[in-house]
Structure formats: C-alpha cells, structure tokens
Symmetry: C2
Subunit: 362 residues, 2 copies
C-alpha cells in the first residue's frame, strides 16, 4: 500500500508511535537474552520486520481519536491510550506479515531477507541442509508472529480506560483477527485451487484480508477511545471497508502497471506468482484468457513476457474495469462520510485519503 497520505498534523504522534515501538522491542530483546542468543536474535529480527512500513494503521487510530475527542480549551488530548492501541495494530500487522511470508514461501520482503530468509541463511551458514534451513527460518517466523499476536493483545488489554471502552476495544481487535484469518484462508484457497476465484470472491477476500484490520479496525478503535457512539463506529467501519478494498485494488493495478521505482517491486512479480487478483478474475471471463493462462504463474516469466501480459490485461478491459472499481469504492467511501454526522475535520481528512487512493494510480 504505497503513497497513502494522512494529515501531517499527526506527525508528532507518528514519531511517538515509532518511539514506543522501539521501546517495546528494546525491552523484549533485553528480556530474551536470558533465553539464549537465538531467541534474542529472533526478537531483533522481528523488530526489523516491523520497520519500513508507512504506519498507516497507527495513523488511522490517532486521526480518529484526535478528531473525535472532545478537546478542552487547551486543545490537548491525553493520547497515551490511543498510542498504545496504535502500536498494537502495528504489531498485529507485523505478525500477519510474518505468517503471510511463511504461507507464501517468501524469503524476501521490501528487497531484503525477511525473518524466514535471515534465519534460513544463518542455518545454511552453519552447515544445515536446505530443508532444515528452511524449517529453521519458518519456525522463527511462526514463533515471531505468535509473539506479536500475543503482545498486541496484551497491549490492548492493558489500556487504562473504563471497562466498557476496553471491552469495545477488545471487540474491535477480536473481530479484526477473526475476519483477517478468514480472508487469508480464502486467499490461499484460491491459489491452492480449493476454491474458485470469481470476482465477487476476490472482492470479499480483499475486504476481509486487508480492509478490516488495516482500515476499519484502526479507525473504529480510535473512535472507541474517543468515546464515540455506535453510529460513528458504523460509519467508520463502512468507510474503512470500502477504502481498504479500493487501496488493495489499487495495489493490484500498481503490481502490474506501476513503475518499479515507485512500488519497489518488479511489475512481473505478481504475474510470476500467479496471484489471483481482481485483474486476473476479470480477465478469466474474457476472450483474452487463452493468451494469459499459459504465461500466468510461470516462475521464469521474462520481463518482456510480463509486459506482453500486462498489455493483454489492458486490451481485455481488466485494467479499465479495476480502475473503475477503485474509483467507485473511493466515491462510495466519500459518500458514506458526507452522509454522516462526523465532525468536518475528520470528514475532510478521510475524504482526502480516499481521493489520494485514485490519484496515486494516474
């Protein structure tokens, strides 16, 4: 998810999120030393895995919290609880990335070795076979994800708010994990071929796997902390789901048509992987499918073939169709905001995020 823009007024809080994340990992890395160097290594590798992201989930938590809080005459809010929840969502995100990498068999993320890759390389350097090295890498990533799921929940559970608010926060968090797992399972069911990936299924999977925990969850959690009522939570949940889908569809487009220097990944990687995206689901139902099928998912797909495939995805109308879907979701997300009673500054900010989602594709 690249180029998301959220109000710069929260920049100071964003720095505070990073500093709390750093303090969290420092404490764990120190505590892990008691249990041997490999465990300490695991924690520092997990810390590295949590770096480099755009912290969009923390930003959503903090934006919703601040713009929905009844700020006194000083204009100050007590951000401590919101910062904890912001950090919790970021840890949860890292946990999902770690387990996603195990499931996808990836050893690299954002251009460098991920936890799997790092530990596997370590074992190989110590003379372990390739199979055992891979097992070592996957073990580290599975345990790393487990530890972060646990830690993120513990943070939410300890937020110093009234019991009703904590229960509501836990509900948001529980729901986020429950739905994300459903989305991840659906995603893999498509790639394994257990389920057929028709377009509505792809959209539902996208909403579950990404939009819920990345958009709807953080926004509603921030609102809960600000003491917002059920109608506000509903609006933010609906906006978050629509916008999350718009962003993920945008990522599908950028994955094939984006400039590599912007996205940081090769335009053939989705195609080599045979990823079941909205583009592919659309193309499958067109006359162009016979041109696509033989090339899709070939690990040895050349850059030239990748460009040819991308051209077919334009010709068959998949690109235009998905662009239209992005615009439609983004427009609907803005309409949900405008029909609501949310405070104007929050409507403005979230509308601008929704517009940036379309803008980044052009």
């Amino acid at each position: 998810m690249s180029q998301i823009q959220i109000g710069t007024r929260e920049t100071d809080l964003s720095i505070e999120v990073d500093s709390r994340l750093a303090a969290f990992f420092d404490e764990r890395i120190t505590a892990a030393a008691r249990y041997g160097s490999e465990y300490q290594h695991l924690w520092s590798s997990v810390r590295d895995a949590s770096g480099g992201g755009k912290r969009i989930r923390p930003r959503f938590v903090l934006s919703a919290f601040r713009k929905l809080s009844n700020v006194g005459s000083t204009g100050e809010t007590d951000d401590s609880a919101a910062l904890d929840v912001a950090v919790a969502f970021e840890l949860l995100h890292t946990a999902f990335l770690l387990h996603d990498d195990v499931i996808d068999g990836d050893t690299v993320r954002r251009g460098v070795a991920n936890v799997v890759g790092e530990f596997a390389a370590d074992a190989q350097a110590k003379g372990a076979t390739e199979g055992r090295s891979r097992l070592w890498g996957e073990t580290a990533a599975i345990l790393g994800g487990d530890l972060l799921i646990q830690a993120s929940h513990s943070l939410v559970a300890r937020v110093p708010v009234a019991p009703a608010a904590r229960a509501a926060l836990l509900d948001v968090f529980d729901h986020s994990v429950f739905v994300t797992a459903a989305g991840e399972l659906a995603d893999v069911s498509f790639s394994v071929g257990v389920d057929e990936a028709r377009l509505p299924d792809i959209l539902a999977m996208t909403e579950r796997k990404t939009a819920t925990y990345s958009f709807a969850g953080p926004l509603t959690a921030g609102a809960v902390l600000a003491g917002a009522g059920g109608d506000v939570l509903e609006v933010l949940g609906e906006y978050g789901r629509l916008l999350g889908v718009a962003f993920q569809l945008g990522d599908d487009l950028l994955g094939v048509f984006g400039a590599q220097d912007v996205t940081g990944k090769s335009i053939v990687s989705d195609l080599r992987e045979g990823k079941e995206t909205s583009l592919i689901a659309y193309a499958r139902a067109t006359d162009c499918w016979p041109e696509i099928e033989p090339l899709l998912g070939r690990p040895d797909l050349s850059e030239a073939d990748g460009r040819a495939l991308a051209a077919v995805l334009v010709d068959c109308g998949a690109k235009a169709f998905v662009e239209e879907l992005v615009a439609e979701h983004s427009t609907r997300a803005i309409a949900v905001l405008e029909a609501s009673s949310l405070p104007e500054p929050l409507v403005d900010e979230l509308s601008s995020v929704a517009r940036s989602c379309v803008g980044r594709l052009s």
Copy 2:
C-alpha cells in the same frame, strides 16, 4: 503427558471446562459460516484438535484457585473467572499444538489426521498437487493457532476481576507465551543442528517449552485469582517448573520404554524422528554413542532395531540416569511445597501429583 492425576473433587469443574470450550467453539463455528464453508471447516477442525486432551492445565488453574480461596461457611467459591482462565490455557495449549505440528511436519496427532493432515487430504481430493495440498494444510493450522492465541488472550483480558488482578493474570499469560516460544525455538535449534543439544540445554528447553505454560502458568494464574500473595506465586512457579520437567523427562522415558498400549504411540517414533531428548543427550557423552548414532533418526527404523536401540540406552546408563532425574525433580518439587506456607490440602494434592509422576514409570 499421560496418567496425571489431580483431585477428583474438581471433576464437576472439569465438566464445566469442557462445556465452556464447547460453547466457545459453537459460537465461533456459527460466526465463521458468514465467511464461507472453508472457514467454518477450519473452526470445526480446530475444535476437534482441542479434544482428547487430559485438561491438565485447566485442572491446575482450578485446583490452585479453589484450595487457595478464602471459602466462606458455605464452602462455595465463585468459579466463573477461574473457569475462563482454565479455558484460556486449554486454548493456548491447542494453539501451541497446532503450530508445533506445522513445525514438526506432522500430519497425525493421537492417531488421527490433525488440522494439517485433514486440510491437506481435502485439497488432494480436490485435485491439488501434493505441495499445494501441504501448503493448504499448513495454512489452516497456522491460522487456527493464530486464532486461538488471540481468543485465549481475549478471554483472559475480559475476566471480571479487579484491575490489579487482571494485570497480574496478563503477566502470567504473557510470560507463559514468551517463555514457551523461547523453548520451542531451542527445541528446533537442536533438531536443525543450529545449536548443540547438551544435557543442561535439554533441561532448560524442557522447562521453557512445557513446564512454564503447562504447570507453572496455570497454577500461578489460579493463585492470582484466589488473591494469593507473591510468596505463594513463587512457590507454585518453582513447583510447576520442577514438576513440568519431571513429567517431560518421564515422557521421554515412556516414549522409548513405555508400553504402546499405555502411551498410544509406537516406541520407535521418538527414535525414528531422532528427537533430541534427555536420553539421547546423556548417551551422546558415553562410549555407546557409536552404536546409537547410525540408527537414530532413520525414518525406516524397524521395530527390532528400535528395541535394540532401547537396549543400548539401558546399557549405557541413560535410562537409569533419566529415571534418577525424574525422581530428583519430583522430590525437589515436593520439598518446595513442604517448606512453604501453602494450605495443607493443596500441598497434599500437589505432592500426590508429583509422586504419581514417578509412579507412572514403574
């Protein structure tokens, strides 16, 4: 961990634990239906994975809670919070089993297909390749474990107790997960060959991987709920770690020398797997090692060779050594209880558990 015996007076509570577990899974299976049949299947498969155990962790929670509570003249306690925590430990245990099976590459547990095996078989029946079927099975087990880690924490976080008690409970739970992950990492480091498995390392790994979350954690959590002080928590933690190690060492012995009809597993399975146990760590430092090494970890090890290997483990003194270690840990665990100010009924019960640990080997 077979044949553990804890007070039968808690039988009614044990039934209540099962009924709460059943209600928990019923609710999740119903909620999962909204997200498709595969997700519902995942939840029912995870429910099945949680069955068949001896519920020793819930029993420890409830024993400590009841015997440390200031029971009024009616002899009644409000067990609801303790039952929630008991269920939480059982869910956490199932989560660890699910991820352990992925890491160990196991597709069978307690004689039937586990989550990995069940989902993999499903995918194969639908025509997926072996590799993709395995991926489908592993995905299901990884997500299933994630969901139970989340659910167990959420249960603990919602226990209706005073803030200080909830914070203490969360500490116990956090510590259990943190230490168990360290133990699991160490265990795999031995089998992959990243670390050397010397005897002290095996004992430390055992304490971390099993004793903490299965014995010390549940006992101290029950004590926290009963309002016990720091000295009681310390005693129970120490007892739990010693006894947990004794039990795991006992399992190492039963794994090689136990009768198959008692343990439910072949006496060659640990040897075929090449599992780094206390027996093997001891034997490695003896003159018998050259007789053991060539056979250990051979997937095609015959029953006859298995019996021959077991005989060498007797001859080299490994069996006697580990039996002595079990007795010593059990004795030390009882000594810790007897030197404490714990109420007599709890000392009696936990001493009897410690004695049964030695008794089950003869």
